[in-house]
């Protein structure tokens, strides 16, 4: 009973750490902020999820203890990780961080240009 718990939980935790490792390799290899945040936001959420599930299973099977805090942790990671990636990307775009040279198209550019002109107009009025 105890050994099977250790094997299953160990497999989950191993897969989780492997996913985290690969996502950090992605952070090094990918060319710009936006593609990097793809790797950071997606793979690390699944890695953390697998590690937390492994921990949960270990304590559930070996000691019969069901931890509701781990479940809450999983839910919070799921809710917050995509929002964080979105906010970082948006801040980077606002700060004029360029995309890589290989980028195909950029439909957001026109939107921001027109927005900026309007903003400067309203600022002029306020002054």
């Amino acid at each position: 009973m105890n050994e099977s718990a250790e094997v299953v939980a160990g497999a989950f935790i191993f897969i989780g750490t492997l996913i985290c490792l690969i996502s950090s390799v992605g952070l090094v290899r990918l060319p710009d902020v936006y593609t990097r945040s793809h790797a950071a936001s997606k793979s690390s959420t699944l890695g953390v999820l697998a590690i937390l599930i492994g921990t949960q299973l270990y304590f559930l099977i070996s000691e019969g203890y069901f931890s509701i805090r781990l479940i809450l942790g999983i839910i919070f990671v799921f809710l917050t990780a995509p929002v964080a990636a979105h906010v970082i990307c948006r801040a980077a775009y606002r700060a004029n961080v360029p995309l890589t040279e290989t980028s195909a198209e950029d439909e957001l550019k026109d939107y921001f240009e027109s927005n900026k002109q309007e903003l400067s107009k309203t600022e002029m009025k306020n002054e």
Partner: protein, 158 residues
């Protein structure tokens, strides 16, 4: 929806009082009977029978988990490929959704789908600007996924 759930709880408590036994089992039986009564009486409510909406929420949750796994596999494959020949780009997507939480949910789902990430929501809440990691091959497929997400969210909120 909240009103129907509250009514169902009240019916279950009523059943517990009728039986004069206050245990979880009696509550569950009363809840199921109340569900049946609400199903029969559903044409007197303004909104839909709430169980369908609960089923739609569960369906959305399953889609979410499936997409999370697929997107992770896609990104892992991309990272481990020996040569990086990707073409990132930003494209615009019109959305029909209106209220704030629906758009937030859609943006979160898009961020967790393979190869897409929401960069900006326009000020009139109608266009999402999405950064795609490999724009040439996925764009059509992504449109299809978006439509299914949007449909699932509309199914919940309607």
């Amino acid at each position: 929806m909240a009103f129907q759930i509250l009514l169902n709880f009240l019916l279950a408590f009523l059943w517990m009082i009728f039986e004069s036994s206050f245990s979880i089992n009696t509550f569950l039986i009363g809840y199921l009977l109340g569900l049946l009564i609400l199903l029969i009486m559903r044409r007197f409510f303004n909104s839909r029978f709430y169980l369908w909406r609960v089923i739609a929420i569960v369906k959305l949750l399953l889609i979410f988990i499936k997409e999370l796994f697929l997107s992770n596999l896609a990104v892992l494959k991309l990272v481990l490929r020996p040569k990086l020949n990707i073409r990132p780009g930003i494209f615009a997507l019109q959305t029909k959704l209106e209220s704030g939480w629906e758009i937030t949910l859609l943006a979160n789902l898009i961020t967790l789908t393979p190869g897409t990430l929401v960069v900006k929501l326009s000020d009139d809440n109608q266009t999402l600007y999405i950064h795609a990691i490999d724009i040439q091959e996925v764009e059509d497929a992504i449109e299809g996924i978006k439509n299914s997400f949007e449909k699932a969210i509309l199914e919940v909120s309607r």
